[in-house]
């Protein structure tokens, strides 16, 4: 009886309130990050408004680790546009330039061929088996702006996941100890 009473006493209201307020501030940080991301998705009209460049196929323009800002609107895709697309069956988005466009007269549908600036051949070999052209539905967005090197952190986090855990652990520790 006395032992249980002591344990219950130590769980004081102020400690409970502190723990709750820490949980709420952590929740606020996470949800505001989510709100910013979803807001960007809405304003740019693209499912992934910011992408990190993963390969050297667009050098010297875009290097590994650069981030690209995407925008998608109803303007038709034309040659020269730098587009981000997914190939059926693969989930890594590819950033290349459009070098050929054929637009059908009646339907307005387009058939697109892309190529990386630094590659010597076009992307046809990369498309899904039997696919010779990309269509509008494959395009996620057009690149309209760019920031150098900022995305290198994402590449490091993907290739060495331990760094991701260390960062999240440190962030969590910092938030939890912030009441001191």
């Amino acid at each position: 009886m006395g032992f249980i009473g002591q344990t219950l006493d130590s769980f004081k209201p102020t400690q409970l309130r502190q723990a709750l307020s820490q949980a709420i501030s952590l929740g606020m940080i996470v949800t505001s990050a989510l709100m910013i991301w979803k807001g960007l998705m809405y304003f740019t009209g693209s499912e992934s408004p910011v992408v990190v460049v993963l390969s050297e196929s667009m050098e010297p323009g875009f290097k590994r680790g650069d981030i690209l800002f995407l925008h998608m609107n109803k303007d038709p895709i034309r040659t020269g546009d730098i587009v981000v697309f997914n190939i059926d069956g693969r989930d890594i988005p590819i950033v290349h330039r459009v070098i050929e466009v054929h637009e059908h007269g009646g339907t307005g549908e387009v058939e697109i061929l892309t190529k990386g600036d630094n590659n010597s051949v076009d992307d046809r070999a990369m498309y899904a088996h039997g696919q010779r052209w990309l269509q509008q539905q494959h395009i996620i967005g057009r690149a309209i702006g760019y920031l150098p090197n900022v995305g290198y952190l994402t590449i490091i986090m993907t290739e060495k996941p331990i760094i991701k855990y260390i960062l999240i652990g440190a962030l969590g520790l910092f938030v939890l100890s912030s009441t001191e």
Partner: protein, 167 residues
């Protein structure tokens, strides 16, 4: 409130905010530039003009491209990507754009150039519509900045025509 962690956090947030602001201002400074590029393209020769077994026409050309793109370069320009596209219309397709040559201009000194080349990429139609076809040659450029917004524009040159017969 005055621990090392708090100070480091405040410093880092401030530094990143200022960096983002500077990048935005650098990108905005590009709008002050009003470029006046010029270009001229001549078709020197139709090398050959055939139809493939699957029915698609293909033509090989030798082009003479002269351009002065020096006014596009600003202090925030990393490179200018330039390419020439042939544009034409066919009964099935309201628009066809095929890139026939591209190049990268890394610096202002190289932006005034003259080049004679056969088409770097194959000009193959979706079908057999190219005999006697009138087409435009458009010189496009893409200014890729060191940071910020990319700009693109083009000059359209019309009046080119493919031969009536295969050769």
């Amino acid at each position: 409130m005055h621990s090392f962690g708090y100070r480091a956090n405040a410093l880092l947030t401030f530094a990143l905010t200022i960096l983002a602001l500077i990048c935005a201002m650098v990108s905005l400074s590009d709008n002050l530039n009003s470029p006046s590029p010029s270009a001229e393209i001549q078709i020197l020769n139709i090398n050959w003009f055939q139809r493939h077994p699957d029915g698609n026409d293909e033509v090989s050309l030798t082009l003479n491209i002269t351009a002065d793109l020096q006014s596009l370069f600003t202090w925030n320009t990393k490179q200018v990507f330039v390419f020439v596209a042939a544009e034409y219309e066919t009964p099935k397709n309201s628009l066809n754009q095929v890139s026939v040559w591209d190049g990268i201009i890394p610096a202002k000194e190289h932006a005034k150039f003259w080049i004679q080349t056969s088409n770097k990429y194959r000009l193959i139609d979706q079908g057999g519509n190219l005999r006697g076809k009138e087409f435009n040659l458009t010189l496009h450029w893409h200014v890729m900045p060191k940071t910020g917004k990319m700009f693109a524009d083009k000059i359209v040159m019309s009046g080119y025509r493919l031969p009536e017969e295969y050769r």
